[in-house]
């Protein structure tokens, strides 16, 4: 960093200050003798013998690029004054005061410029509105300030302000000369709020404030979104109608069995209440029947365990078709509960046999097969003829509801 100061007026010295990382070397050509004076990087002091007293500088943290320009250089030292050794300087008091005034004034000017610039930038939309003349006011303010500008730095700020102002002016001009009505985003926002259903509170004091003037309903944005649907040609999103699948293990088999019994119960419940007694008796009757048939099966089997019992011979009642169907129905319960089993003999005819006590496994892991039997009177008759069935193994029950 190299800094050259040029003192005019009373001082005939040309001061050049070179600073490097570790030390600053001050060379002065004082009135009579030049000398070198190493100083620390944070400050430099002048040697008094040269009748040149430098003001203390804070130095160091100045990033501004130095100019090899005499007048511009002076401000560097000036700017870095804080509590400098002003007293007793051989640079004439008049100069110091001028420096001070200038420096204080210049700081003021710079700060005012910066205020103007920030005001233009912050209130851009405000200034753009054709209803006011704020931009002109800013420019007039700048003109006033410019009268006091002496140094390049303030001039640079002035130039920056001008750039920002002309940018704004250009936009304002384009607004004015565009065909048709200008578009004001503020008015648009207000209208939009009304559209969304803003409930304006009646509060006269808050006219100036724009914040929290009323509150928006919950569905405000949804209202706007609905209106937006008309303007957009969005492709509707693809979603599975039933949602994604929810992986669940398949229900265990027991549920199926119970479900088979449950519908019959529910179906019975639909019947009118007067008949409740009879329902239950029917239920019990079924169970009784099933047990009875089991008894027949077991006794028949025990008579001759080796010879297989033909299924048809077992269930068919040659005198009544309906009873045959009932027998088949009751026998199916036995099979379902694992109390009897059906198998095919050598001639591929179905046979039935009771399951031994130890082998009974009620809902167990034995592989179960299901089949559906159908029988019609014609088949029934054919079976009777084919198997030459004379009488039924299963005696008809005493009480009969046909």
């Amino acid at each position: 960093m190299c800094l050259w100061l040029n003192f005019e007026k009373n001082c005939v010295a040309t001061l050049g200050i070179c600073t490097n990382k570790t030390s600053s070397i001050l060379t002065t050509e004082a009135v009579n003798r030049p000398f070198l004076y190493p100083v620390s990087k944070t400050c430099f002091r002048s040697r008094t013998s040269a009748r040149v007293k430098m003001k203390r500088s804070k130095g160091g943290g100045d990033e501004e690029a130095p100019r090899h320009n005499g007048s511009a250089g002076r401000r560097k030292a000036d700017q870095q004054q804080s509590d400098g050794d002003e007293g007793g300087s051989d640079i004439g008091p008049a100069d110091l005061q001028d420096d001070d005034n200038d420096q204080g004034l210049r700081r003021e000017i710079r700060s005012k410029y910066r205020d103007l610039i920030s005001s233009v930038q912050q209130n851009r939309e405000d200034m753009l509105s054709p209803s006011n003349n704020k931009l002109t006011e800013v420019l007039e303010e700048a003109n006033k300030l410019f009268k006091d500008v002496r140094q390049a730095r303030e001039a640079a700020l002035d130039a920056q302000l001008l750039v920002v102002a002309t940018d704004l002016g250009k936009e304002k001009a384009s607004q004015l000369f565009s065909e048709g009505t200008a578009f004001d985003p503020t008015a648009f926002a207000e209208h939009l709020l009304s559209f969304m259903g803003l409930n304006r509170l009646e509060d006269d004091e808050d006219e100036q404030q724009n914040t929290a003037n009323g509150y928006l309903p919950q569905d405000a944005w949804h209202r706007l979104a609905r209106r937006a649907e008309c303007c957009f040609r969005t492709a509707p999103s693809f979603h599975y109608m039933m949602g994604s699948f929810y992986a669940e293990p398949p229900p265990p088999k027991q549920r199926i069995e119970r479900q088979r019994k449950a519908p019959s119960k529910e179906a019975k419940r639909i019947m009118p209440t007067q008949l409740k007694k009879m329902e239950e008796s029917q239920q019990e009757a079924t169970e009784k029947e099933v047990e009875r048939i089991l008894g027949y099966l077991k006794s028949y089997y025990q008579d001759d365990p080796t010879s297989p019992i033909s299924y048809y011979e077992f269930v068919i009642d040659p005198s009544s078709f309906s009873r045959t169907v009932e027998n088949i129905f009751h026998t199916s319960f036995l099979i379902r509960d694992g109390l009897a089993r059906m198998y095919l003999d050598e001639e591929k005819l179905p046979c039935i046999a009771p399951v031994e006590e130890g082998e009974v496994e009620a809902g167990g892991s034995t592989s179960r097969k299901q089949c559906i039997l159908s029988i019609s009177p014609k088949i029934w008759k054919e079976l009777i003829d084919a198997f030459d069935i004379k009488d039924s193994i299963i005696r008809p029950p005493n009480t009969q509801n046909d």
């Binding site: 008015a187 944005w221 937006a228 492709a235 693809f238």
Partner: protein
């Protein structure tokens, strides 16, 4: 399934022998995917059964539909890498068929929004209803916000500085600096999500300090949003005839009707 794969795998190996430059060594890079010529497509089609081509077309259609849920554009590179894979030599044919499926089955249009980067989106091909749709599907409030932003940009000539948008949003009680109860991080939604969905463009203005950006309409907005309808909405809000905004009106009805909007050249202040 295995039967289908067998011929395709033998095919790809044979094709690699024949058409080495088509199957890119670096399959990730779309730049090396050269669009196959019509004759190559023909030859490719001959080697495949119609069922295979239909299956691949269906996969492409499904891919698009799922990707469209988030409204992100589909890149050709991704499509080729993940779906088309070995069928890339008949890629133009597959895409053509997929576009036809979209049109005839779904009423959607497959639009290429970026010819340079090869991005595609789906757009509704059916006429938009004049009033709100009778189907009471849940509406997305983000669309409302988007409409507000797009309207401002359009009415301001197509380009606005970001500060204008932020200030307008603040007036609508949506502060980009704070977390909004419905939208969350508003700034991120506007500058990131909407931009990635190609509804908006957020570009840096050069030589600005501090860095400023400007907003424009994105490619998806150009394809999906009707300027005329926006102008209509403006007319409703401001209780003015849309024709009073002559420049915007001209722009909105530009293609066939550019001669119509030449009325009232006097500037209204």
């Amino acid at each position: 399934m295995t039967q289908r794969k067998r011929p395709s795998s033998t095919q790809s190996s044979s094709q690699r022998r024949h058409t080495g430059n088509l199957v890119a060594q670096d399959e990730d890079d779309d730049a090396t995917f050269t669009q196959p010529s019509t004759s190559q497509v023909q030859r490719g089609l001959e080697k495949l059964t119609p069922a295979q081509v239909d299956q691949k077309t269906a996969e492409v259609v499904q891919y698009f539909l799922v990707k469209d849920q988030k409204k992100m554009p589909v890149r050709r590179a991704d499509l080729v890498k993940h779906v088309v894979k070995d069928y890339r030599n008949i890629y133009p044919e597959i895409l053509k068929r997929a576009a036809r499926t979209f049109d005839q089955v779904f009423g959607l249009k497959l639009v290429e929004i970026d010819p340079k980067n090869k991005m595609y989106i789906l757009v509704n091909n059916l006429e938009t209803p004049d009033k709100a749709s009778p189907v009471r599907s849940p509406s997305n409030p983000k669309m409302g916000l988007l409409l507000a932003i797009l309207s401002v940009i359009f009415m301001k000539g197509g380009v606005v500085r970001e500060n204008l948008i932020w200030n307008t949003l603040r007036k609508l009680r949506v502060d980009p600096g704070e977390k909004h109860e419905e939208f969350g991080d508003v700034r991120k939604m506007v500058t990131d999500e909407f931009v990635r969905q190609r509804y908006l463009e957020y570009v840096r203005i050069p030589h600005t300090e501090p860095i400023e950006h400007e907003f424009r309409w994105g490619q998806r907005a150009d394809a999906e949003v009707s300027k005329a309808k926006i102008l209509e909405f403006m007319g409703e809000l401001h209780e003015q005839d849309p024709k009073t905004w002559t420049q915007q009106y001209r722009q909105a009805h530009s293609l066939p009707n550019s001669s119509q909007a030449s009325t009232s050249s006097s500037s209204q202040r």
